[in-house]
């Protein structure tokens, strides 16, 4: 199964059979080259920085560590084979855009240009890091069962907080774009691939690298800054922060590239007849998210380069005493950071509005308004970032403007609620697991949104800024919103992706435990914040002890409910392997008209699109697409 017609890139053509599986570029070589690259970069860096004041005054050599991480990235990319294409073009070798698409299981461990393989790689990677970050949260809640630092040392506690926050932000930004976006967007628009398949694979492998680089912060002494990396604390921190900087940069680059790829795909690769007004709402969600990613993520990467310079060569972008300003970091970070939180919201809107019509058996209500709402959110998200700095003293006279612009966002967000409500009007709701998660999305996101109104009001923000109220607010929007939507999306689309059914009963147990314990965990934290508990502390007022113990117990149960999800995945996909029908939900959408799992080339012929996928209830609705002489839907399960 290793033989293939696309072997032109592989420099090694014959090996002893024992090495067959390792032949060519794959994650094993990438790991080896990354470790070798780190050693080389570290050695070079230590030579370069050996005599500089910046390095001899500390016990950790930032130049060496940063160069090590840089070279490790190069080694990783080279080991996976991303350099062979540009090098091949330079040396005039013939090239192909399709690589390792029919290489058996090893394609999941290497550069593969099949968008469906990349999506599955993404899903596994994102879920892996999601569980790692979730485990950090369990440790955090464990420590908070006591009102004073006990079993986790104060420095390690901050590292846990930083790892949890940064890992979740990084992985959830890619959490829908990567797995569901890469899998579904080409299929939904009637394309055989993404516009830039190699870039698509690169973004996925950069995400994996970013996750491991961030975890390496543990080996480098941890970092004390949380996910916001505020200067000058980041400047003062030990070398663990270098891992934070490099990993966040890698994710920034990855996100920007995902965005470019998505936008190009959606604009240029649509099948005939796929007009803008027939585009599934999920694809609109991916498009608007991508626009945010393309415009915001590079700002983060640029700002992080400034931090690197501040740390490694003693520039003064953010150091007040030598002419810089900590406010500069705040501005740049939140200019990225606020669009970022909508990168974490818009995909959720897309998923739930895609799922609701299927299980309400009604057309999506107010399609154009939903699209406008998404663009409204995307546009406004660039105009609100200083609401994170209401009490910082920066541009205090602009606070009324930022209060206004922040509150304006509730108009397009409210539109999404109207779409959901309209779709449910006189519907024929089936309470499947994906539908339950979608309904819970509205419940949670409503609480998240209304608590946001408190934070947008300057006077009220003085009470709650920097407290657990904020923390509860964004967990309601990101976990209660995006993660619930993602879970709904996974239960909805995984039968298509894997070809196997997920256990419905376990899914319902997972949903109800997650929903109940999510609310029991985070709702009391609004009160904790109002009662004066600052974020990111491991010791707090004794009178908040009972509340925190309650929250911790609920959080452990929430963690356990995630294990039910994991158990369901493993049980259904690895052990039970019950074949899913091609269209178990009776959806009208294009992806469900294909066999499960979808064949490598998606469509034998590029289909002609006849209508939007929401024709429920129209007695004379046309088939969503014309597949030509061969109708693939008739071949369910025939892979």
């Amino acid at each position: 199964m290793e033989s293939s017609s696309v072997s032109v890139h592989r420099t090694v053509t014959s090996r002893p059979s024992a090495w067959r599986a390792l032949r060519g570029y794959n994650v094993i070589w990438a790991t080896a080259l990354a470790i070798g690259g780190y050693a080389l970069g570290h050695w070079l860096g230590s030579k370069i920085g050996a005599n500089s004041v910046a390095q001899t005054s500390t016990d950790q050599d930032d130049v060496a560590i940063l160069m090590g991480l840089g070279f490790a990235t190069l080694g990783w990319i080279a080991g996976l084979g991303f350099l062979s294409y540009p090098l091949g073009r330079i040396t005039g070798r013939p090239s192909t855009l399709r690589e390792r698409e029919e290489h058996g299981p090893w394609r999941y461990f290497s550069l593969c240009t099949d968008h469906k393989v990349v999506a599955i790689q993404y899903l596994v990677a994102v879920l892996f890091f999601f569980f790692v970050a979730g485990l950090n949260a369990m440790f955090i809640r464990g420590e908070l069962t006591s009102d004073n630092a006990t079993f986790i040392q104060a420095g390690n506690y901050l590292t846990l907080v930083g790892l949890h926050g940064t890992m979740m932000l990084m992985m959830m930004s890619a959490g829908v774009l990567g797995p569901l976006g890469n899998y579904l967007v080409p299929i939904m628009i009637g394309s055989r691939r993404m516009a830039f398949p190699r870039v698509e694979s690169l973004t996925m492998w950069l995400t994996v690298l970013a996750g491991f680089v961030l975890l390496s912060a543990i080996l480098l002494g941890g970092f004390p800054t949380g996910w916001t990396g505020y200067a000058p604390l980041a400047d003062q921190a030990r070398a663990g922060i270098d891992a934070y900087i490099v990993s966040f940069m890698l994710i920034g680059i990855s996100l920007a590239l995902v965005g470019v790829n998505m936008i190009a795909t959606i604009i240029t690769m649509r099948a005939p007849g796929m007009t803008w007004s027939r585009l599934p709402i999920f694809v609109w969600g991916m498009l608007t998210t991508s626009i945010l990613a393309v415009l915001a993520a590079p700002v983060l990467a640029a700002a992080l380069i400034m931090v690197i310079f501040d740390r490694a060569v003693e520039t003064s972008f953010f150091v007040a005493a030598t002419g810089g300003s900590p406010f500069l970091w705040d501005e740049l970070f939140w200019f990225f950071g606020h669009p970022e939180v909508y990168i974490l919201a818009l995909p959720g809107f897309g998923i739930v509005l895609e799922i609701l019509p299927v299980f309400a058996r009604k057309p999506l209500w107010g399609y154009r308004l939903a699209v406008a709402g998404m663009f409204g959110v995307a546009l406004l998200s660039f105009m609100v970032w200083q609401h994170h700095l209401f009490v910082s003293g920066i541009n205090a006279n602009l606070r009324p403007f930022y209060m206004f612009s922040t509150e304006l966002i509730s108009i397009p967000t409210g539109v999404i609620f109207l779409n959901g409500m309209g779709t449910l009007w006189r519907a024929r709701i089936r309470f499947t697991v994906p539908m339950l998660f979608s309904l819970a999305f509205f419940f949670n996101f409503l609480i998240g949104g209304l608590s946001g109104v408190f934070l947008s009001d300057v006077s009220s923000d003085v009470t709650t800024h920097g407290s657990y109220f904020v923390m509860a607010h964004f967990h309601y929007t990101i976990m209660g919103g995006l993660v619930f939507a993602l879970m709904g999306g996974i239960y909805y689309w995984l039968p298509k992706v894997t070809g196997f059914k997920l256990n419905e009963k376990l899914g319902k147990v997972h949903f109800w435990t997650m929903f109940v314990f999510f609310n029991l965990t985070f709702f009391p934290l609004f009160a904790a914040g109002m009662l004066g508990m600052p974020r990111r502390v491991s010791s707090y007022n004794a009178d908040l002890h009972t509340l925190n113990v309650f929250v911790s117990i609920a959080a452990f149960c929430l963690g356990a409910s995630m294990l039910i999800f994991l158990g369901n995945l493993v049980w259904s996909v690895v052990f039970k392997r019950e074949r899913a029908e091609a269209n178990p939900w009776q959806s009208l959408s294009l992806e469900w008209q294909l066999p499960s799992p979808v064949p490598v080339h998606n469509f034998d012929r590029i289909p002609t699109i006849n209508s939007d996928p929401y024709g429920y209830g129209f007695p004379d609705a046309p088939a969503v697409a014309d597949f030509g002489p061969r109708v693939l839907a008739g071949e369910a399960g025939a892979t």
């Binding site: 916001t228 003062q236 003293g393 205090a396 519907a427 920097g466 004066g532 990111r536």
Partner: protein
Amino acid sequence: MSESSAALPPMSAGPRHGVRIFATWAIATAIVVPVMIWVVGPHIPPGSTSQQARDQHDVNVALTALAMPVLLMIWVYFGYAVRNFRQEGEVVVDGPPITGNARIQATWLIVTSVMVLGLAVFGTIDLLSTGGSGGGEGPAPLAKPADAASALQVQVIGQQWEWTFRYPGYGGVETTELALPVGREVEFHVTSLDVAHSFWAYELAVKADAIPGSDNVAYVKALRTGSFQVRCAELCGLWHGHMNTTGSVLTDAGFATWIANEQKENAAVTKDLPPYSHVYYPAPLRNG
């Protein structure tokens, strides 16, 4: 946009869903909003220790009361839909093919826009009329309380992981305790010597970030004597969670005695301090 279809069985219990939803919502709102204002409201932080705490308390109660009708509308609607618009059994039946309703959409947009505009106007007027509501306003505050000119100036200096306080009106004496006179306007000047902190006097409802190289002004007028907690609300490194102290609001006479005592006790230290300034630039501590 046809609302009925030959393929559809008739809806049970008539089409008066809208009326029922509205009635449920109206009743729920009529009960919940007064409860929120008069039963829960008095317990909503941050209390009434200072003028600013009162202002923020009023805003928090107002926003809670305003949030309830919205919350209830969505909950009642979804609850009603989930209860009444369900399809039991294995049969898959399509609902009516309604794709939108321009009038409802326009009404929704207008209503939410009016609410948002109202919130913004309310928030702005409130911010300006309460003298900044206890929040940090930077070196040149837009909103000042009426008697700001005669305010007692207190500088708050954050450093890892300790708060100190300087009283420029009393020879620039620097203390480790914070004491304020009751009933008098106080002008905090918050700054930092190393990394970003945030000065949070919880019961006084004051919060102002302490940023190195920056002078952040916040006003407060304490209304009652007693103690209050001071915390750090911005992650500042290892002992961020321990950067606490207790301040006190004293009577005028008590404050005069206290500050005179501090001046005497700290006289030797005050002599060696750098001259009072809104910002300080100590050599940065870099890379561990």
